[in-house]
């Protein structure tokens, strides 16, 4: 089945002339058309644009100018500005916003010859862990339509898992690529902070946000990252670090690899069935010759409170640009300037976004800044130091990506704090700016479980290698939800 192939397989098929990009694109557009009603994973589908891009990709290939992802259909999270296409960020505030420019990531995919199928659903402004805060309604998990797909990149995760697209982009501020990848049984990579440009990616928390690939396999993630990574003069936080070929070391052996298991990631709060799956995945690595070592990340228990100061503070500052004046939603008949700001923002933002703006505004307000924001930044350094110490002894760190499998829609909406705890194992990685992955490791109660891999700064090649070796020994990443066959 064409729709069940990876990017690597599709690229080979296009190259061999087995099918054209137009045929491939039509296949996925048809699947979206017939199957997405059940999932709500897309906010906008762009069939005309996709077929135009596919036609152009076929022309380029025939002329011998095939780019790295020539002819490959992809879905883009609706957080990336896309010229001439609605870029809503999951919010009523930006529902009227047709972006006047392309994000750097979009430009890079365009230059690589990739085809954009559409824009995927997400939690409003990427604030959420279940995709339930989207103004466009929740996304369903293809493994169980009563369950959430995770968030905030829930639309991308569900679309890849249901084979509505071979791959998609996501962004990860506190776990928004890895947690939905875990819940939907796909591969997700959050690169090192600064590895991928944030230009044109609507900002949530600028010192944490990072874009990455959401794919079926580690090999596909490497192919995507080859296009996405690199310095961008338009993003002052992007890093001037050489971009390797991320596929080059996929097949390296991992005998003697030192894997650290943080004891804090296997303590209370972790679902027993999830723990079992993770333990058997670790055993698989032992069979491949890896050496397991227990480590400790003592300050990581404070990652969630640290994050819930830093992220809301930065969001309250970033979202102040949504003021009803230059773009986006504006209230009817404002009576004065304050009324215009207050009502446009009050009517345009949903409850979770408001909650975070309020927390952040409070934390940054006069008299509280040192007690909250500065204290959180200091704790952040301690959390980061723990990781660096651990990496003196081990090559990669592993553990669960999330404490449970996907919960049900509506189960945690009245309980924000418990919802926040679903990112308990991913948040520390963002605070330290490290690369992290989630890969399919098995099932608990018929729902997918993700194994998290964490590496040192710029160790994406190592993580992809370690993930690829696991995928050569196991078939969890090949599983397809029954109703999407």
């Amino acid at each position: 089945m064409m729709y069940n192939k990876t990017i690597a397989e599709l690229s080979a098929g296009l190259k061999a002339g087995d099918f054209s990009s137009v045929e491939l694109t039509q296949t996925y557009l048809e699947r979206i058309n017939t199957l997405d009603e059940q999932l709500n994973s897309f906010i906008t589908v762009t069939p005309e644009r996709a077929l135009e891009q596919a036609k152009e990709a076929d022309v380029q290939r025939a002329a011998g100018h095939a780019g790295l992802l020539n002819g490959i259909p992809l879905a883009q999270k609706d957080i990336f500005c896309t010229k001439g296409v609605k870029t809503s960020c999951g919010s009523k505030m930006l529902d009227p916003f047709i972006s006047p420019y392309d994000a750097t990531t979009i430009m890079k995919f365009n230059d690589s010859g990739a085809v954009m199928l559409g824009k995927t659903n997400m939690d409003e402004f990427a604030m959420g862990s279940s995709n339930e805060t989207s103004w466009y309604g929740p996304v369903k998990n293809p493994w169980n339509l009563d369950a959430v797909p995770g968030g905030s990149s829930g639309g991308s995760a569900a679309a890849v898992a249901a084979r509505l697209t071979p791959a998609a982009t996501g962004t990860d501020t506190g776990g928004s690529i890895r947690q939905p990848a875990s819940f939907c049984g796909i591969t997700g990579l959050k690169p090192t902070y600064g590895r991928v440009s944030r230009y044109g990616m609507i900002a949530f928390a600028s010192s944490l946000d990072q874009a990455g690939p959401m794919t079926r396999t580690a090999e596909d993630a490497a192919l995507m990252l080859n296009v996405m990574a690199g310095l961008d003069k338009r993003d002052s936080t992007s890093v001037d670090e050489a971009v390797p070929d991320y596929t080059a070391h996929l097949n390296d052996g991992i005998e003697g690899l030192k894997i650290g298991l943080p004891k804090e990631f296997f303590s209370e709060g972790l679902d027993d069935a999830v723990a079992k799956v993770i333990e058997s995945a670790i055993k698989e690595y032992e069979k491949m010759g890896a050496v397991i070592k227990e480590i400790s990340l003592p300050t990581s228990k404070l990652a969630v409170p640290t994050y819930y100061i830093i992220a809301p503070s930065e969001c309250s500052s970033n979202l102040s640009r949504m003021d009803g004046v230059r773009y986006g939603y504006r209230c009817d008949d404002p009576k004065d300037l304050n009324d215009l700001y207050i009502r446009s923002r009050g009517e345009g933002f949903g409850p979770e976004t408001k909650r975070r703006i309020l927390v952040g505004t409070y934390a940054l307000s006069e008299g509280f800044y040192d007690a909250y924001y500065v204290k959180a930044q200091k704790t952040r350094r301690l959390i980061s130091n723990d990781f660096h110490q651990a990496f003196d002894e081990v090559d990669v760190i592993m553990g669960p990506a999330a404490p449970s499998t996907a919960f049900n829609i509506g189960e945690l909406t009245d309980d924000p704090i418990t919802m926040y705890l679903s990112d308990i194992y991913t948040i520390a990685v963002n605070l330290a700016g490290l690369p992290g992955m989630s890969i399919p490791a098995g099932f608990a109660k018929n729902m997918p479980v993700g194994l998290q891999l964490i590496g040192q700064h710029f160790a994406e090649s190592k993580l992809l290698n370690v993930a690829h070796q696991f995928q050569k020994q196991t078939d969890w990443h090949l599983k397809l939800p029954e109703s999407f066959k």
């Binding site: 006047p100 404070l302 100061i309 004046v325 773009y327 215009l340 207050i342 408001k354 409070y362 200091k378």
Partner: protein
């Protein structure tokens, strides 16, 4: 770090120029107080002498040559505004 009350939430909402429905305020009071309770865990940390971490790689702002690199794109950008006239953004009258 004391918990918040209704007037605190109203004050913060005004600082953020964020409309909050009267009926939703009690829920925000509870939610925000719970979040601040959780954050109190940070009191247990001895961070004396620790340098605050603003960038995970401790990078500093990159500078570039002070040259014009962007073109004037006013018309394109203003096409997305709710209300403009003569190249200006319009808002309700500020000065009588």
């Amino acid at each position: 770090m004391s918990k918040l009350d209704k007037s605190d939430v109203e004050k913060i909402a005004f600082l953020a120029r964020l409309g909050v429905d009267e009926q939703d305020i009690p829920e925000y009071v509870t939610n925000l107080s719970n979040i601040l309770d959780m954050v109190e865990q940070l009191d247990s940390v001895d961070a004396e002498g620790i340098k605050p971490m603003a960038h995970p790689l401790d990078a500093v702002q990159r500078l570039r040559v002070d040259e014009v690199t962007e073109v004037d794109d006013r018309e394109n950008l203003q096409a997305h505004a709710p209300e403009t006239a003569d190249g200006l953004y319009l808002v309700p009258k500020v000065i009588e």
